[in-house]
């Protein structure tokens, strides 16, 4: 059986646990003091209409008594890492799905799964003073859906022979893996539940969605072929984006942030031994319209100076002078075990030594102890929000 553990309003719960003054109050966790959106909010805030993704101004309008708390990522990553360590003492078959979710593959012949679920809940409560919800099912899909049944602090188990009936109790749009777009498509066809999907038949679904049609048909039967995968899937790209504390108006301002983002990307590529040969740059304007461009270049690199030079060249091509709200840089077409820090086209051939010294100093004295001087002009420095792809270790691990 598969067990899915999902922390309840994780960031908000940790904030309330760490600060008794916040307990019982409607709180919203936001990325930074400047403009930002609600990353998550406490159950007290949810009851008053605050939702994830609202701007902080919208949240304050809906709930004037809301307490805004900026993210303290290092506590969340610590708690997540410690909980993952505990889960791995139960079984090595643990898939960390996100910072606050994990799947465990439990052998029912060896363990009483209900006891394990309550042991995890008890450990999380007693060590971190927060709660989690646990769902158990014959596969990841059913287990994941079961976590939401008695949330927060819930437990729900679905036996294999109940899986199909259990899936029928959800609207299609609420099912894990069926997005808003797909459920909208189904809704337009008069299909609202998994029972309706089954009636449509696998052949018709495959005509409509190709190979995904079979997968959707299986899901409608409460079946799911993906097993708990404890190995890290290879990354396809390494990227960072940053919402600016205020709209950027000049190329010089943007250049500082692009250098910072290039160094963040390069630093992660160097640490994890990757080089890439495509670069994607995205600019979001004040109206939240995105414009982006991908470029493939003729060499592999992990170096900040290469990434920055190409990023600036793409930026100059796509920036039309609009105010800039967000910038993003992503290195793709990655090859592992290959750190390339200079090439024969570089005027200066000592870059590899420079990066080695930067990494050595930053490893000893802490992240960003040494960086590029231009970055000092940036009002916002470093990653503020945790990507859903964050993991306790590996390439998806970002240090805060």
């Amino acid at each position: 059986m598969i067990l899915c553990m999902d922390m309840d309003a994780f960031f908000a719960s940790v904030e309330q646990a760490a600060n008794p003054n916040l307990r019982g109050k409607p709180i919203a966790v936001i990325g930074s003091r400047e403009r930002t959106v609600v990353v998550t909010c406490s159950y007290e805030a949810r009851a008053l209409g605050v939702k994830t993704g609202m701007s902080k101004y919208e949240a304050m309008k809906v709930c004037p008594s809301i307490v805004l708390v900026t993210t303290t990522n290092r506590i969340y990553t610590h708690v997540s890492t410690e909980i993952t360590k505990f889960l791995k003492t139960i079984t090595p078959k643990v898939e960390v799905y996100s910072i606050d979710e994990a799947f465990l593959d439990i052998d029912e012949d060896e363990h009483d799964i209900t006891s394990i679920a309550y042991m995890i809940k008890s450990h999380v409560k007693s060590n971190f003073n927060i709660t989690c919800s646990i769902g158990v099912g014959p596969n990841k899909l059913v287990a994941k859906m079961a976590t939401g049944v008695h949330k927060p602090d819930g437990f729900y188990m679905v036996e294999p022979d109940e899986a199909m009936e259990f899936m029928d109790s959800f609207e299609l749009g609420k099912i894990w893996g069926i997005g808003r777009k797909l459920s909208g498509k189904f809704r337009n066809m008069g299909i609202f539940t998994t029972a309706d999907v089954r009636q449509l038949g696998e052949e018709r679904l495959c005509e409509m969605f190709g190979i995904n049609g079979s997968r959707i048909f299986q899901m409608a039967h409460g079946l799911y072929s993906d097993s708990v995968d404890q190995t890290e899937k290879p990354v396809k790209s390494i990227g960072h984006s940053m919402t600016m504390p205020h709209n950027l108006k000049t190329r010089e301002e943007a250049a500082g942030y692009l250098l910072q983002l290039s160094e963040m990307v390069s630093s992660r590529a160097r640490r994890n031994g990757y080089s890439g040969k495509t670069l994607h740059v995205v600019i979001r304007d004040a109206e939240r319209q995105d414009v982006g461009k991908r470029r493939t270049f003729g060499f592999f690199t992990s170096a900040t100076h290469h990434i920055y030079e190409i990023a600036m060249s793409i930026f100059d091509e796509i920036w039309s002078g609009e105010d800039i709200r967000l910038l993003g840089v992503s290195l793709g077409s990655l090859v592992p075990s290959c750190v390339t820090l200079s090439n024969m086209m570089d005027d200066f051939q000592g870059w590899a030594d420079v990066y080695d010294v930067i990494d050595e100093i930053n490893t000893k004295y802490g992240k960003e102890s040494v960086s590029f001087g231009t970055v000092l002009q940036c009002k916002r420095r470093g990653a503020k929000t945790i990507s859903p792809a964050w993991r306790p270790d590996g390439t998806r691990n970002i240090k805060f």
Partner: protein
Amino acid sequence: MLLNLHERVSVGAVFESSPNPVWFSLHGEKIVVKEVCYRWKEREGNDIIHKFTITDGFNVFELSFSALDACWYLEAMDEGDGK
């Protein structure tokens, strides 16, 4: 309101498997830790920083202890009317 301070402070602590603050002095006043609300660790290069939120029953304080230079800091103080 949350006040960020990062002030070096004297702390009385019991060291078991990890440090446990018992009291600290703030501007000459001894503040007794009533409850350690939360504890976590942060890595800063080679240094491991032990962090705590504690309360004296009125205010909430954040203390940190650097394992490398064996110093305590009062990082922040929340006087209770929100953060």
